[in-house]
């Protein structure tokens, strides 16, 4: 196990999404300048999944990003960086292990449950268990936390952090912690970018499961059309609001990660020198804006408490439009990176 100390104050750079942000921040502190969109793209972060049988607070799971932990793993693999991962059963032991690491000056990525983090704004304290933060030091029992979605580093007391690391429920973190153990001298971004995009194209177009990828978007659009008949009228705004929150709430950078991915494609064009990515980036931005239109229109329906079938047809049409455009985009991307 080789863990290096960074020998200086941790640099905190605010980002849109927690996992790509903390990965990017860790790499930055070890001298690899990889922006958040770049990490997000190399980690193949963009995704769509509609899982009506997995319930989040009693509502269907709609996700715009891949499994928590995948971005980190993919990025590490593709950039040749190595991580040491630790898992624990005993909360006290988990905290002691964290103490040992950060007392040596090594920042550690830690998986937490949002609900128990005291610095979270009250309006956002839901049970969401895949929030990744970086702990880089402590003053006695106060831990210095670089939470990538916040403006500046925050302080978290030991007992709260312990509770957050052992949150229960869906995607329980079980004290997961990771540190960088090997960093290469030089990294080849353009190969990594291609690999990242290739995986995205495969998952979004060809994945052999109907609820994932562009097919999943279509399934969701179809299901949405039937919501006014299938759900209690009173609870309709709740369901629609849930879909909007999954797409827009802090951590997605707007438009269900589509805008981050557009930024990635833009950066990819600069790094690889391939101007075709610029064109793709523009199209992706348009798709992200279209998703935001869905949120805008959906919120209006929520506010007016209307359960008119026409409204839901229109929402469904917006999503189908996104699906069609995304399908074409991934096809064209595949032509570039194949």
């Amino acid at each position: 196990m080789i863990l290096k100390s960074i020998d200086k104050e941790f640099i905190h750079r605010q980002s849109a999404h927690c996992e790509s942000g903390s990965t990017s921040n860790l790499l930055l502190n070890y001298g690899i300048e990889a922006s958040e969109p770049l990490v997000f793209g190399i980690g193949s972060g963009i995704f769509f999944g509609y899982f009506p049988f997995i319930k989040v607070q009693g509502m269907p799971t709609i996700t715009f990003r891949n499994m928590p932990g995948r971005i980190l793993k993919n990025t590490a693999k593709r950039l040749g960086v190595r991580f040491e991962t630790f898992k624990f059963h005993d909360p006290e032991k988990a905290m002691d292990a964290l103490d040992r690491v950060i007392d040596n000056g090594v920042p550690a990525g830690v998986r937490t449950g949002v609900f128990w983090l005291p610095y979270m704004p009250d309006a956002m304290r839901f049970h969401f268990n895949a929030h990744t933060i970086v702990v880089y030091g402590r003053n006695g029992n106060d831990y210095l936390v670089s939470d990538p979605v916040f403006d500046y580093p925050v302080v978290c007391p030991r007992k709260d952090l312990m509770k957050a690391r052992f949150a229960e429920g869906l995607l329980a973190p079980r004290g997961k912690m990771y540190c960088l153990s090997e960093v290469p001298e030089k990294v080849d971004f353009s190969q990594a970018i291609r690999k990242g995009i290739r995986e995205v194209c495969y998952v979004m177009i060809h994945f052999p499961f109907p609820l994932i990828g562009v097919g999943g978007i279509r399934m969701f659009a179809k299901a949405l059309r039937r919501w006014p008949e299938r759900h209690e009228k009173r609870r309709l705004p709740l369901y629609l609001g849930h879909a909007i929150r999954m797409q827009e709430e802090i951590g997605t950078g707007g438009g269900g990660f589509r805008l981050i991915y557009a930024a990635f494609l833009h950066e990819a064009a600069h790094i690889t020198g391939d101007d075709r990515f610029l064109e793709m980036s523009k199209r992706m931005t348009a798709i992200g804006d279209r998703w935001r239109e869905f949120a805008l229109y959906g919120a209006r329906i929520c506010k007016n408490r209307s359960s008119d079938g026409d409204n839901f047809d229109r929402l469904s049409d917006i999503i189908l439009d996104c699906a069609g455009k995304e399908y074409q985009l991934y096809k064209d991307l595949w032509e570039i990176v194949k």
């Binding site: 329980a172 557009a262 950066e267 959906g298 209006r300």
Partner: protein, 130 residues
């Protein structure tokens, strides 16, 4: 989205900001801070409205003696019996039983302490409801 269109609708983020990736005048991508977006504030508000409504219903049942105070605290922390059983270490059927006043009133301090520590409150607070 363009830089000039970044929404600044103060709301659920409180004093914090979210990051948006937007294009500037030259078509380059830049990071931009947003203090919130109205549709999101609405969606978040609705979620809380329903949570509080459900909680008020539970509270009424607790007052009527149909449910134990544990049910109130469980719902206040947005848990269900399954999650509470994972946190407390009690089997699910036991948690379900403790949601009824008759079983709850007979619990000894050891059991109550475990529940109280899940919610970060004292045993006295656990027995009370507002």
């Amino acid at each position: 989205m363009e830089k000039k269109d970044v929404p600044q609708d103060h709301g659920i983020y409180g004093q914090w900001h979210g990051i948006c990736y937007v294009t500037d005048e030259n078509g380059e991508y830049v990071r931009s801070k947003s203090s919130g977006w109205e549709p999101l504030n609405i969606a978040n508000g609705i979620a809380w409205e329903f949570i509080n409504e459900d909680l008020a219903g539970i509270l009424k049942k607790v007052k009527k003696g149909e449910l134990s105070p544990l049910a109130y605290h469980m719902n206040k922390n947005m848990m269900d019996a399954k999650v509470l059983s994972q946190y407390s270490g009690f089997a699910r059927w036991r948690v379900n039983r403790h949601l009824k006043p008759r079983a709850f009133n007979k619990l000894d301090d050891e059991v109550l302490k475990r529940y109280a520590s899940v919610f970060n409150i004292t045993i006295e607070q656990l027995k009370e409801t507002p």
